[in-house]
Symmetry: none
Subunit: 212 residues, 4 copies
């Protein structure tokens, strides 16, 4: 008898497909996360949902924050494609309102998890910044660089500052001001802040004491 695998028998036992099982657990994590939110998510609940044992969870992940973030990162994997709509405005709108955008109802839970976990565990923070935020930043950077080549971004603009600005403004409005993230909102932020700043470039001699 086949131990199991693809075949749709849904057999009672199917251990060790190495990455397959892991994916199932992460999916279960996302389900629970979506249902009750980060704070009320328990390892027991995830274990039960995934028909896994808690030992298995702790064997693979350090704890709840790591599990949750791994689930989210897994879910957002492949979201790193650069849109390229032909304009900076279109690219950024696409990047912030597409799949895995901030209007996902789970995003609130997930960002809470991330902020909390990062504050608690610097090592985790480093990993998360490297593996999740880093790629996002890189995508954003590529979009801006491309726009600069088209002349939409001023040559003097410091992209290490402007690049993450849109994310910061939008996340702030979403989480602290409580506004839903709609394409309209993102568009207004682009028109009012990001695009003017990109187009006109920084103020002359910024933060430099020696200027005229």
């Amino acid at each position: 008898m086949v131990p199991r695998s693809i075949s749709a028998d849904a057999g009672p036992c199917r251990p060790r497909v190495e990455g397959e099982r892991e994916r199932e657990i992460l999916d279960a994590t996302l389900e629970v996360l979506a249902e009750v939110g980060y704070d009320l998510l328990t390892m027991d609940a995830v274990a039960a949902r995934a028909k896994a044992s808690k030992a298995t969870l702790y064997r693979r992940w350090r704890g709840k924050p790591e599990l949750v973030v791994a689930a989210v990162m897994c879910h957002h994997a492949g979201a790193g494609a650069v849109p390229d709509t032909g304009s900076l405005r279109g690219d950024l709108l696409a990047a912030y309102c597409g799949t895995g955008g901030l209007n996902d109802p789970r995003a609130q839970s997930v960002l809470s998890a991330v902020v909390t976990a990062m504050g608690r565990d610097p090592e985790f923070a480093e990993v998360y910044r490297r593996d999740f935020i880093g790629p996002k930043i890189a995508v954003s950077r590529a979009v801006y660089e491309r726009a600069r080549e088209r002349g939409e971004v001023h040559p003097d603009t410091d992209l290490t500052i402007l690049g993450p600005a849109l994310a910061g403004i939008v996340l702030h409005r979403a989480f602290l001001l409580g506004e839903p993230v709609t394409p309209e909102l993102v568009g207004r932020v682009l028109d009012e802040v990001i695009l003017p700043a990109a187009l006109h470039g920084p103020l002359r001699s910024p933060h430099d004491p020696a200027d005229a």
Copy 2:
């Protein structure tokens, strides 16, 4: 005449000055918060530090997030003064790097508390937005309005968008990118994003379907 005991010493037992005890508890909360951070702060520890009973804590606050945020709000009360340094750049730098700024080591803990609690409890979120964020926004708004009168902000600029932008960018860098909030960083954000956007105003006909 003193209503209580002998000497007016405010001795070992001083119940019910109504707001006095509450302030002591909130101070104790801040002490514990500063020592161990939000996640490791326990209600028992606060009660012990304040020489209060847990019942008293729960009589006044709904739980740990509310207590912590109340403590922080109490501590930051009166931070609503408008700086007025004569320029928008100076005002904003003063507002974001002065007392209660983001470089406070407790800020990370507190923001975790706030984001978590807001995600969990919409009622709390509303109260927090009204009583804590609202005044901050108002102060910021006043600074921008004043700058607009001086000609530093374009007449067409939508301050509901630009106003909270600086906070968003800075908080994002602090909490997600892990950068310390220094006056230099705030200055660069001002020069690269906020001030250019304010000076030049929004792109023509933003978010308006009817344009050329």
Copy 3:
């Protein structure tokens, strides 16, 4: 001197008849006791029922056990009348099945209170034995003495042993064996144990150095 007293005006406010208020509180105690039992009786509940403050309760009684027992003793006051039905059997039946008998539904709660309190507080135990059990024993003793004069009790019988025996047997059946205390049961105990022992007297000098 009494500040006031007797007059039956039942005026709106009549504090301090000294023993009057106390009686009201004890009545309230009995009401609560009957409703929820000893363990679930709280001082707050008694205070609320009696429209008294907890401070008043603690001013007069040491704590919950004392209050409850005082209430019971107050309620049973005057139950010390000797029945005198003409026979030992009738006297004892009357004594154990009359008012304040063991078939009172509150008796279980009260005895729990008493046993618990006596085990915890030797001082209370002494007071209770002196003021409540003592009189009961005295009444019982009088009944047996009277019966001895009628020839129903053997001259050699030690009433310090036989006197409390009936109470012990009946209470044991009620509380540990869980049987209801009916006149039939008491009658059977009398016929099977108490009366034969009383009639025939003790075994001849067992292990007793001095015997006839």
Copy 4:
């Protein structure tokens, strides 16, 4: 190779021997009980003493009374041996003054626990009567039956009444009258009450309409 366990090391961690750990907890319970008494015994103290968590205690027992009584029952298990000294007097003396007798200093605490718990929880009362009191009664019954065969107990005697009588009398003296349970006292109760009643049998047809 053995993964662990079996080897007689009795190592630091030995969960799940099913009844072994339970016994340890019950022993710890008895220790605490003996030290501070029933009322001052706390679940936390037992947990600490047994190096168990409170959750474990509550997983196995419903609450404090059940735990305490289980501990006592466990401790007295096997005390059901019938003495057989050759005489009813000797048997009963042995039964009431031997191991687990009433002169155990813990007995007071334990009986308080039992009476309280029985009054509070009828289900517990039933279990306790069945599993603890029942066997005691059975032993007592056997002693009396054996004595009846030797002619020490009158054929008409109702052992359902006489059987539990000694326990009732002795417990009453111990708990309500506050006397220590000494062999002398038990002997006097036997000579004054139990043995005469057993020897002479019940009064002829008491309160029974149909008799000669």
